[in-house]
């Protein structure tokens, strides 16, 4: 196919075509004239990525030795395109999101784009290409017939990626949306009069809620679960329990050694319990912040309207 192209067009025309193609790809990746990041844009992005692979196969040939040498180039290209899309996505984000800073914004938006368009399928595709090339090179199989295997794998992944993206409804709302909901609730509680207050002992209810859902809510600064905060909370419990035992050791030689030995034993016991129940920790253990973000910010873009309509009927 490479020879056919060379026969039809001379070098100048080929250069023009390549320039036009680069402009076309960059206009899609930088989303020129795109209003928002809808499904249409995602589709264009996927098509462009697979088109690049196809172009590579046509121009440089789908040969095992060529492809096995350029796996690193493939990975770098996909990574850079993803990063550029992240920057582009960051430009269109709301003002509250921009408060996290340049570096974090690029990381967040690149990862968002990575998960929304399921770019990991492309990485699996590159891995499969590498595996095929490796086996073909090692076993010295006839090169002429093997190029079709690359095209078959290419077609399977391309169609699969498009179809999964078509039915996928995963997405994340803008931060501003959660923030406005939060301020509305704050105002609601401020205007909640003393006369129509039907809530019985709200601090106790909230305290119990924390006790059940997320015990170290007030003991940590971060929004995610950390072992340090758990140890901090356990230390308070340990201190209150061992006050008597501490006084019991008073007067004895090496009292501090006995006390810290019992503290060390308690920490080991806690760690042992955590590792024994690691499955439960992985399954659940969402902090209150995580639950808020998961329920109110993470969305199924298209399903949500249908669910609201069905509920209202």
């Amino acid at each position: 196919m490479k020879n056919i192209i060379k026969d039809i067009i001379n070098q100048d025309v080929l250069n023009e075509i390549v320039l036009a193609f680069i402009f076309f790809i960059s206009s899609i990746i930088f989303a020129i004239n795109e209003d928002k990041m809808g499904k249409e844009y995602q589709k264009k992005y996927i098509i462009v990525i697979y088109l690049l692979f196809f172009m590579y196969f046509v121009l440089f040939g789908a040969k095992p030795d060529v492809i096995s040498n350029s796996i690193g180039l493939f990975l770098l290209t996909i990574f850079l395109i993803n990063l550029i899309c992240g920057i582009n996505y960051g430009y269109k984000s709301d003002i509250l999101t921009k408060f996290i800073g340049r570096k974090n914004l690029i990381i967040l938006k690149s990862l968002e784009w990575f998960f929304v368009t399921k770019t990991y399928i492309v990485y699996v595709f590159i891995f499969v290409l590498g595996a095929i090339s490796y086996t073909l090179v090692n076993r010295n199989i006839n090169v002429d017939t093997t190029c079709y295997s690359y095209y078959i794998v290419f077609a399977i992944f391309f169609i699969y990626h498009l179809l999964t993206n078509m039915i996928d409804t995963f997405g994340v709302y803008s931060f501003e949306r959660l923030s406005t909901g939060f301020f509305k609730t704050k105002e609601y509680f401020k205007n909640y009069g003393a006369n129509d207050c039907q809530i019985d002992n709200l601090p106790n209810i909230l305290g119990f809620l924390i006790f059940v859902e997320d015990k170290d809510y007030f003991f940590r600064k971060s929004a995610v679960f950390s072992i340090y905060s758990v140890l901090k909370r356990k230390l308070i419990r340990f201190k209150s329990l061992n006050m008597e035992s501490k006084s019991r050791y008073k007067g004895k030689s090496l009292q501090w050694l006995i006390y810290y030995y019992s503290l060390f034993k308690a920490v080991i016991k806690l760690l042992e319990r955590v590792f024994r129940n690691i499955k439960t920790y992985l399954r659940g253990f969402s902090t209150i912040e995580q639950q808020i973000v998961r329920v109110l910010l993470c969305i199924l873009i298209h399903l949500i309207n249908i669910c609201i309509e069905e509920k209202s009927l």
């Binding site: 601090p203 305290g207 119990f208 809510y217 007030f218 929004a223 639950q291 998961r294 993470c298």
Partner: protein
């Protein structure tokens, strides 16, 4: 809102939403608050109690008593009513209860939400405190 449907997206939800988006959102929120209030350091308990109220109203639908709260949690959680009642007993005798209550009451006073500190059974929390001091 529709928590059951998220099982389909378990890994993306767990890895991306809970471990990347969540800390980023709270970072953005803190940075904006710092800028608006011209603070160098932020009091974490301030916004934590506010978000706790947000969680209580928007996700749990404001159950007015602990009994109704247990009903609500037992529907969505793997903990059943029996387990939650045992937890309630533990909570009443726990050393964490006064710590939580102190933080929450302090923040309620800051937010001018004293009406929530009036208890039905015991009357005013403030009056009780004043009486004991006298």
């Amino acid at each position: 809102m529709y928590p059951d449907t998220f099982d389909k997206y378990m890994y993306r939800r767990k890895i991306f939403v809970e471990w990347v988006v969540n800390p980023m959102f709270f970072k953005a929120f803190r940075e904006r608050r710092k800028l608006i209030r011209r603070l160098k350091k932020i009091d974490y308990n301030e916004y934590k109690v506010e978000f706790l109220l947000f969680y209580y109203k928007d996700i749990l639908g404001m159950p007015p008593t602990i009994d109704k709260l247990i009903d609500k949690i037992s529907k969505n959680s793997r903990l059943n009513r029996y387990n939650l009642e045992i937890l309630l007993k533990k909570f009443d005798s726990s050393e964490l209860k006064p710590i939580y209550n102190n933080i929450i009451e302090e923040q309620f006073k800051r937010l001018n939400m004293e009406c929530f500190l009036l208890h039905k059974e015991t009357g005013s929390a403030f009056s009780n405190a004043v009486l004991t001091e006298l």
